[in-house]
Symmetry: C2
């Protein structure tokens, strides 16, 4: 291996800024070859080789190191952290924040310090380019933290070829380990539609890699979270957007625990902001010669329509990247390609674990990271299981939409007698109550109260326990992580909520509204 | 009593919109006299009369009703809810949200969809007027909710004269009750400085009531939370602001549990945005003839300086409105005028309770409301105490700044061996790491990473328990309410945090960062 294709950083300690420069050079082709951070003086066998250094692989590796184990993590990219900071959740959050700010700028156009909104300045391309210009900062931090703080060993910018359940080849070198942890994620399934490979057809990944023009009209195929989130951003960024879904938005796509009122508040809000949404559609063809110029679709009523656009975005969902492991190891997969694991993350092949998006839905960060931790704990001798059937969830429209536990409908089915604490209260027009208002919806509360959000908490009347919480607005997401714990691990009651110390104004009004009702022996809705 | 000075709404059920119209009419003088929502057919004695229908009075009343008790709540304003939605926390939150948006618009001036920032459009007056134009919506909701949902009885727009511990006179009518609950709040102490009564000198209350010009330069006397929050807003709204404090900001003023690094991030951020901050000052005189034109101040070095301005804002703190009760009932007060109560909210006079700002610091919503609940529970026969020595806290600069539990320094004193999980990590320049980033700091993360926030969590190494959490950014406030419960009631450990389900990107990184370290038997900082 010559120095142009081999970089050993083991005895060097690049700063975050130096890593940033290195990764920039790898990305633009000035540098090539693998990056080695390998302790060749350590003669212990690896407890595990992690194939893939994204969320699951990196967190599993960190946990194993913290436990005193030895791991090696291999990733195809010149950085750890995987698709989240490179193509997925980080750009999505930047775009969603832009959508919120654009929504505010357009809604308040010509008022206060907001000038008349200039549609020509709204640009999807600007935000994509901003993201691409900055993403290597997060990447450099992952490399730095993993090496300097977490003590991990890794090989980056290299392909790991799995030979058997204990053996991986990287750049012609053989590495063996007691176990393998597979963590190579998933990729968008492009639907089998004529013309889907035309220029101008993107998914979330190719959008950030390939977009080189500013789209002004978009058709989104699919109704997933990604479709809602990117559609809301495109529309806010001046790109007229049409969503072609099969099921009504937020009803299919594996989202659970969503009530009709929450869904309507969100979807009506999207429509109000100009997005066209069609359910029950079937996409027939991507129109255009070399470049997509529209989409032919069969509508719910059976009619066929051509919708012109200069961008097509695919938001139909993702498929695990499991094929290489089926071939090399014979691991069992389900009919969607997800590697089948038990609650210890063990695959059908002894010594081989799989984590993250590779094992299927939900394809969320908490699951990927906790899968990695679960694999590490079991490999290190602990008997540890992870059940991800219940979890808090969120998506962005121009709002942050968050939910945890049961929907009101589900709670009524399960408990019969439930009470609901809701803002605005049922029957009161949204525009009559500028609550819930807090950081993020105050300007709406005083100008367009009907845009200032929606929320409710659901309690089982008998046990007085909180069983579900739902929020549309901003600033509640962090709290819902803890509400998940409080609901599922503590069994928090309305009486305990009433005794908590609220930070008012707070985005979710659950604590103070609970206090207004908790005095009663027989609970009532609010 | 004729109909012009007597309005009985008991058998009417005004909607929120109708209440809004009524309150507008009371405010602009088209209507006068008291509003009665009194059930004269109920011959039960009142369990309590609440003198004051703000946070403490209203929540206490609601709790008493929920418990089956009978209360009467009397307020001088034509609405319930008190100063929070009228002059205090609600305008402050609107102004702080405006400050954040103005900060973003100025920082990103000329980039993306943000036009060159036009300083002439920034206006304190605009936001004050916006608030005043809309505040009656919140007021109307309080009246509606209290009557229709909470079953309260009340008399509004009327003065309650306390006769003795069981007797109150309102508009010439005598009302008796088993108990009194005093809940009349506090008011700004205007410092004893020559010229303090000139035009152009405001506190948070007179600002919203009286401001009739757009200030372009402001001197703030005092270094309280209110000074920081309003100062940050004034500066963002184009009004050059100077803060004259005695102690360094966020060190005095009753704020506890704040570390130097958090404080520096916030105060440096204020300075960076153009606010002049001077510690160790003594205000000598308000300059100007009838109208304030500047402030004469003795600086820390003993020199005397005149600072010109067209507005003076007083942020030195508040004093409880206890004088009438000292006079009428002889309740004991401390040297700051706070009514002295035990942990049941009982004053020195049997049958008389006091709640909220009237009993002194901390003058926060959670305390006022929970005081009200505490009084109600005890009056209704429960033996219930409320200890507010520990609580989560926050303030706004152009950021939301939130903290709970111990500072790192306090934790080291108490536990000796603590670990700290911090972003950005100590020693790494803020500008090198665009983390922590999440909803609200994403645009900064990709343009000005040094502005994207700061956070840390402090753990006792031995017990592995979280003992303190600190955050500068947006979107963490709601979560800190639950962290307070988790720290003080659950004793949450780093291991439990590591097993929680994060919603990524999340404003506070405490869950996932805990997971990176929790694997170790001997914890290390991160």
């Amino acid at each position: 291996m010559d120095s142009e294709t081999y970089m050993d950083v083991r005895d060097e300690h690049p700063t975050n800024a130096e890593w940033r420069t290195l990764i920039d050079e790898f990305e633009d082709g000035r540098r090539q070859g693998a990056i080695y951070n390998l302790d060749r003086s350590d003669d212990r066998e690896f407890d595990a080789i992690f194939v893939g250094g994204g969320a699951g692989g990196r967190f599993g590796s960190a946990f194993m190191r913290a436990r005193g184990g030895r791991q090696l993590t291999i990733d195809q990219w010149p950085f750890l952290g995987g698709s989240c900071p490179h193509q997925a959740c980080v750009p999505h959050h930047l775009f969603s924040e832009a959508a919120r700010e654009l929504d505010l700028a357009r809604t308040l156009s010509g008022r206060f310090w907001y000038p008349e909104f200039d549609e020509s300045k709204a640009s999807v391309l600007d935000m994509v380019q901003l993201f691409v210009s900055g993403r290597n900062s997060a990447h450099s931090f992952m490399n730095w933290q993993s090496k300097e703080q977490l003590g991990m060993e890794y090989i980056l910018n290299a392909t790991a070829s799995v030979i058997d359940a204990h053996t991986v080849e990287v750049e012609g070198e053989i590495f063996t380990a007691k176990n393998l942890v597979l963590a190579t994620g998933s990729a968008t399934v492009f639907p089998d539609v004529p013309g889907i490979d035309k220029a101008g057809v993107f998914d979330y990944a190719t959008l950030v890699e390939d977009l080189d023009y500013n789209p002004r009209s978009c058709v989104i195929i699919g109704g997933s979270k990604v479709a809602i989130e990117y559609g809301s951003f495109f529309q806010a960024a001046g790109c007229q957007t049409t969503i072609l879904a099969r099921s009504p938005l937020m009803q299919g796509s594996g989202l659970h625990h969503i009530d009709d009122d929450l869904r309507e508040y969100v979807v009506d809000g999207m429509r109000r902001r100009g997005i066209q949404i069609f359910d029950g559609t079937e996409t027939l063809e991507i129109l255009g010669d070399e470049r997509a110029t529209g989409v032919r679709v069969r509508m719910a009523d059976g009619s066929v329509r051509d919708i012109p656009c200069d961008m097509v975005f695919v938001g139909t969902g993702e498929r695990p990247n499991s094929d290489p492991f089926v071939k090399a190891l014979g691991v069992s997969v389900d009919d969607r390609g997800a590697v089948i694991v038990d609650d210890h993350m063990r695959t059908s092949v002894p010594g081989v674990y799989a984590v993250g998006d590779l094992i299927g839905a939900p394809m969320e960060m908490f699951k990927a990271r906790k899968c990695g931790m679960t694999a590490a704990r079991n490999i290190m001798g602990e008997d540890y299981s992870f059940d991800f059937s219940e979890y808090p969830d969120f998506l962005h429209s121009t709002y942050e939409v968050t939910w945890v536990g049961l929907s009101e409908r589900e709670a009524r089915e399960e408990y019969g007698d439930v009470i609901v604490i809701q803002m605005p209260p049922p029957g009161v027009p949204y525009g009559d109550i500028p609550l819930p208002c807090s950081d993020g919806t105050m300007l709406f509360a005083f100008t367009h109260p009907e845009l200032s959000g929606f929320q409710k908490a659901v309690f089982d009347s008998k046990s007085r326990r909180l069983v579900g919480a739902h929020h549309v607005g901003y600033g509640a997401k962090d709290g819902f992580q803890y509400l998940d714990f409080l609901i599922h691990k503590v069994g928090v009651t309305i009486d305990q909520l009433a005794e908590m110390n609220e930070l008012f104004l707070n985005p979710s009004h659950f604590i103070q509204l609970s206090r207004l009702r908790a005095g009663a022996m027989q609970l009532e809705s609010l």
